[in-house]
Symmetry: D3
Subunit: 239 residues, 6 copies
């Protein structure tokens, strides 16, 4: 039995609160159960140096956790002078995931920065960040199209992400922190609305794993992502 009585293939309750910030063009508070991530999209009229003159845009993600997102306080990374390896890995993953569904020529020489700040952490913060980050980006672009700053949306597809893992020998979907800590195998899947894969990451630090286990986890995660994409569509349409 899972700590919160969920079925193995059941996601936690997912809640999306669009327009959470008055200050950002696109923003959403996303909750996967007790995990809460505030996602905000910024559009800037410049691109990194190596893209100047190319006519192409860029999308990047930033990720951070508030100190008391965790039950034991986590020190601020600014006080160590640099982001941790974990933070940089997650930021790179968010960026790659969002870039996979944006047509850079249609965006033009603009950058989208998607900030994902974890308000409360209970497992799955990076997958919530990707799922919510897409919504924040889509809402910002919707504004731009509405106000004719862009003639059409450069977004090709929806993209969302979820985790799964083998806990006590059972493959389960959308791990909470307690399950994540106990998992033998931990996977993250990033997938488009059309079911194409964007990123697959499987890690077996505590225990190695078989092809069969990996495929079982893949199956669970695909089901979860299909639900997340439906939620994204509703929120973006009604915003």
């Amino acid at each position: 039995m899972r700590p919160d009585q969920r079925q193995a293939d059941q996601m936690r309750q997912v809640k999306l609160t669009p327009g959470y910030l008055l200050t950002a063009e696109g923003s959403v508070m996303i909750e996967f159960g007790n995990t809460r991530v505030l996602c905000a999209a910024t559009l800037e009229d410049s691109v990194p140096q190596w893209l100047r003159g190319s006519g192409r845009g860029w999308v990047t993600g930033e990720y951070s956790m508030l100190p008391r997102a965790t039950v034991t306080r986590t020190s601020r990374e600014v006080n160590k002078g640099k982001p941790s390896g974990r933070t940089m890995e997650i930021q790179r993953l968010i960026g790659r995931s969002l870039r996979a569904v944006v047509e850079m020529e249609a965006l033009g020489e603009r950058s989208i920065i998607v900030d994902c700040d974890v308000i409360q952490a209970d497992g799955g913060t990076r997958t919530a960040a990707i799922t919510g980050g897409f919504v924040a980006m889509a809402l910002a672009i919707k504004q731009l199209v509405k106000f004719k700053a862009l003639t059409r949306s450069p977004i090709k597809e929806h993209v969302a992400a979820v985790s799964a893992g083998v806990v006590n020998g059972v493959a389960v979907l959308d791990l909470c922190y307690e399950e994540d800590s106990a998992a033998d195998v931990d996977m993250n899947l990033v997938m488009t609305g059309a079911g194409q894969l964007v990123e697959v990451q499987a890690t077996g630090e505590k225990s190695t794993f078989s092809d069969e286990q990996m495929l079982a986890l893949m199956g669970l995660m695909k089901g979860g992502i299909r639900q997340l994409v439906e939620l994204q569509k509703d929120v973006i349409a009604s915003a």
Copy 2:
């Protein structure tokens, strides 16, 4: 006329949401109009090196702004490798303000860290941080006393803070960002529930000011702080 139609001596609507985080012993989301600061208190069983063996505790504040707390995105300080001068100044102010109302011998060799993260910024973030930071600290200590970790509260007094300034020649209370940008003189007052002063800061970069102007601003801010302390009392009592 003020941008939001307030009277000169009128505060913005103040809202306190205690227990905002499941993860922290004491937390509150505080809002001064559109300014929103998430405050969380952490109790640690250690003190800075220079206090070890003294039997006395310590209280410290940390302050940060999310990148999209502002209408134009602000870069994360971690990417510059260190907190800005402004951040350090505010952190030091929060720490001094809270220490002024805590009896360090009664706290014992423990540290309280009060994290103040600005979710949305519309002026007055440092005063909201002090006002909310006190509530987060008080809620955490209430828990400790309830569970007998402390025999009595080391808190001697309430403490709250508010800003005021001279805008277009008129002294007004609790500046929003638009007023703050236009102010000739800018003041912050930190005061206890009993009306004792803790910190007075007046700055006249755009224009110097007279004693009379300073006293007028002091009068406005005392009135504002008395209202804030009443709100603090209600929230702490009912939590």
Copy 3:
């Protein structure tokens, strides 16, 4: 009785040695008793990015202490990789204080950097830095006007600063280190030659304070600053 037998409203002996450096356009060694701060002004033909094209100038202060300015050696901040919070707070205060008396349009797109290096510290280093920093700046500008680099001085007013505090229940002016360590309340005032206020800072970390105490300290400090401005005038006129 004060440690050095001064009256409550008596400043320490103040000494200004203009032209201390052959290398700087304007420089002064300022002494408040045993506190010695070397102030040097630099004029640069550029402004921060956000002022380019505005026709306006900028004034900024830098502050540092030599390691053996203090009785117990203080580590160099360069070895920690960044200035401390205290240093940044003082630098910002010096900059604001000097900017308050400079007409930025008359300065044109030039920057003045005022370096304040504490050679020996016995309390009041930031107020000595502001008082001496003004003299260094005025001497540099006098040179520029003399050599026709500027048609007229952009300095509108004199500005000086002094500290005061409540020590053993008594309000005293211009605290030495021993008094500063023992003070219940600590104030700094920055004021112009015409008696207009520029910055007021009062801090009651060890003890809160009343309006009456603050006003008493204000009175002492105004008297001190009037004396400092007279000394500034003599030194600048005779240089």
Copy 4:
């Protein structure tokens, strides 16, 4: 046709030169074609703080590229003050991969640090680092067992890694730099000698991908790793 005339399922020539350094207990120069990585293992009699007293050991990897490992010179990360996100991601991957095959209780409270320095880079540096890093670690441990510092080897399994990708629509094994730059999909697999999975990473930044493509790449990589493990066995046995 591949740039170096290989078959789709053919690895580049792999060469292992054990004992490359006189200074290290275990070291190997590993070459995957023109990619050359120098791997060296260090055993230290201490563990990170959070493992002290646990009786368990730790294995960690470090990764760096020499500036002229690349055709266009890459600046040293030390001059930027911190490792890049890419470096940290690879270091974490190396550490996880090696830890997956080490029994931490049998290692005792010791740390193994495996340094992987890229001398020449032509794609696949991280997989060469894992494959060579394992050999360096195994050689160091062989020494320790020989000299009775350890009663038995804590190594449970062999581990090796290889890349694959979809280039011009074809799934190919062990990408060189030219292929890596052109790949639509890029995968890395870390697998044990017994065929258990340790890490699976698939990234489709340039193009999303299907389950079928992922499985085809998995098949190629399993074949490659089986060959690498045979080479590892030969080298370790004969050293």
Copy 5:
């Protein structure tokens, strides 16, 4: 008797492997006995800011040690955030030594960066770096002249370096690590092919020394450098 049975005036075996890297225009692996340094030269079409528009070029050196170049592992400097004082001192020495033999006007507004990475350290790494660094630079320039990117070589002279020291009262040439650690006096000489001096450094931390000792060491080092220059000539000619 020296640890490796050499005569007092005998160098260790010196080996130069030109073209060690496929990725660099000019590279060489240089060995002084067990000391191995990989030197690579890069030509860039830009100069430091202060040389722009001058028509003159610049040559700079960078130096680093792999962690297991030493018998006890040395932490990577990137993890401390900055190069050590020793590294910076050596980098500056390499740069000055190479610049002494390059005609900057003939180079034009180009920079040569010579990377010297110590693969294995057994004393004399900085002198091996200078000697090998010159070869890497000369090979890169030979390419440029061959492909008409430069009409003639800007190299005026050969330059090489060697160490010597007083060990157990005896002046000996080209110290290995064991001798270096025991030396009372330690010298480095950088000299041109024509016998002109470029840098002389003598250090007597463990013991002061006399003029006569210094002259004896100078004599030994001149003999060593003459041999090194012959080797350089052979390698460059045959490359």
Copy 6:
């Protein structure tokens, strides 16, 4: 003719002001003409980790320049986050020079830190720092012996330093900044009171040099150091 009409073998006027700081056990302001360096010695009751338990002490130097020590302002190194290569090289030289004349066993497990802060720079700052740094250290130790904290002085010898160079083809002693900038060859010598050599550094970046030139410079510097040591003796005796 030299810029200040000195003979080739003539030093600038040297002035030593002992006890410049009330705050330090030993301090001196040293002037070589317009070069002014404030030297202060600190004795600490601890040693670096690698000396703990050895019964031996340590001596270290720190060096810095005030921003307006130079005619064109030099940025503070703290704002770049780390000391420059030049600063680190000079600090290391000061430390080695002072350690050469201290008997570490007699010092016991204590550290002496000698801070050398350049107030005004006109060439020769590092040699003035060594010469003055020795006096500051000697004065501090004299105090310790006087107050019986040490039974005898651990200082074995005097040590002083001076520069020389070849300017317009002429070997001259004690270069001022104007000469230093124009010098073809630049040397520094550190020598004991008994005439033993401690450090010899000769650099010919602008031009290589001959043995004869080096010996001529050595002769000039020995004469200068003999004068400096006489001045040191007078000051230390009379303090």
